[in-house]
Symmetry: C2
Subunit: 262 residues, 2 copies
């Protein structure tokens, strides 16, 4: 099965996060998405194989299109790898596509943007079919107030007030390109697109916007809250199960420009 | 909580059928939808309460809008009953609405039509988020052939070839009003509307249509198959999990015409 050349593969995958302890493998458990993928690819290739994701997703968070890459010496085609992986993965993880990419492609370092959706079930009739993917909050929500507050968040800002990460020297400046808030049936759906998001950032942003929607805070407060940079002034961390990573974007030229050479 | 008058309540409910042994209560198990509802209403009213559904759904079949009715002596409002029930029901059953109806309303006898949807996942990329609600069949399907075959099924016919029910004196004549077959993303979705459906009928019809779609049988065969009336000539019984009851229709006048009187 092996061939001499080490090849680089980009994969796009879906998962329901409910029963996993998040993306990142941990010492004492195999029950992570990364851990499951590495075990399987190690079995497939016969040598220890590492999988690098575009970023971590927390325990309970879902993905419709997470991206990752791994290096392997194999004679299998991309299609054969996809079928092999889907045959052995549990039913809550599925590989959408496998693509061979240039050696220098890196799923995290080359990512230029991500989109997350946070789904709030906004009625007192419990969701049966969507129950694992939504946060239930039946209270009336002022969509105009939430949109006004969201407007202050869009752009390049220091989002340190909106992360649970401990202080570090790493920059907490990020750019949010768009936030859309729309009613879809019984749901209010928050969609965030940006160049990257800090630890817990989307869930704290949503918690803060929801507090604006219920009238607990005024939209204008967002500005002073963001300027102050204190986590304790931002809103609650809403539950993981409402969050889904829906897209990871790459600037094609950044890794495809030398495609003709390999 | 009780008042003298016995009131009749119509409920509309959703459920995911995965972990239930169907709608109808059975002697040795509480694990049916009807069983769960009766236990709860018996607790709510303090007296043994029976729940009558518009029809049975089999083990594993889902419902987006099943209807049922029950009689109770209670001073609770419809809204209070709905909230009470949703508070105590498991998360895979939810009451959409509770409505007081005339004493003579019967959810099964007054039903004039039903709609079922059967969902086929028609790609080799496994469904993560829909996996409990679809039947996976990645083979290429000829939609035109299936539509032609479906055309022969629409109308008033004897459907005895399409039921698993043992022979009985009951009529096996039913009217199918429409069958639509449409591609929705990765799915082929079959929607059946009719005045009523025999035991296993929708799943056997779908199995037969799928065999037409894969080229195993010609569309015209449906006519002779239906005329012959033999179960063994029809297609396979496809899995329960792909089936969802989506609507039960009533002719409003049939039970509302005396609304002013009660």
């Amino acid at each position: 099965m092996n061939c001499d050349r080490v090849r680089n593969f980009k994969i796009v995958l879906q998962y329901e996060g409910t029963r996993y302890q998040g993306w990142q493998k941990q010492e004492n458990t195999e029950n992570t998405i990364q851990g499951r993928l590495e075990s399987l690819l190690t079995k497939m290739t016969g040598v220890k194989t590492q999988v690098h994701g575009s970023g971590r997703t927390d325990a309970g968070v879902h993905a419709k299109a997470q991206t990752a890459h791994f290096h392997a010496q194999t004679a299998m085609s991309c299609e054969e790898i996809r079928i092999y992986m889907n045959t052995y993965l549990p039913e809550d993880i599925a590989i959408q596509s496998v693509e061979e990419v240039p050696a220098r492609f890196h799923s995290r370092l080359n990512a230029v943007g991500k989109t997350y959706v946070y789904r709030v079930w906004n009625t007192d009739i419990p969701p049966v079919f969507e129950r694992k993917y939504v946060y239930v909050l039946p209270e009336a929500l002022d969509e105009a107030a939430m949109r006004q507050a969201a407007g202050y968040l869009v752009g390049r800002h220091d989002f340190r007030a909106f992360t649970s990460a401990k202080k570090s020297r790493k920059s907490t400046v990020r750019t949010i390109e768009t936030i859309t808030i729309e009613r879809v049936g019984s749901e209010i759906r928050f969609t965030y697109s940006g160049d990257g998001f800090l630890y817990h950032m989307v869930r704290i942003l949503t918690g803060t916007l929801l507090e604006t929607g219920t009238g607990k805070r005024r939209p204008e407060e967002i500005k002073t809250l963001m300027a102050g940079g204190l986590r304790e002034n931002a809103g609650v961390l809403v539950p993981a199960k409402g969050l889904t990573l829906v897209e990871v974007r790459y600037n094609d030229r950044s890794f495809y420009e030398d495609k003709g050479k390999w």
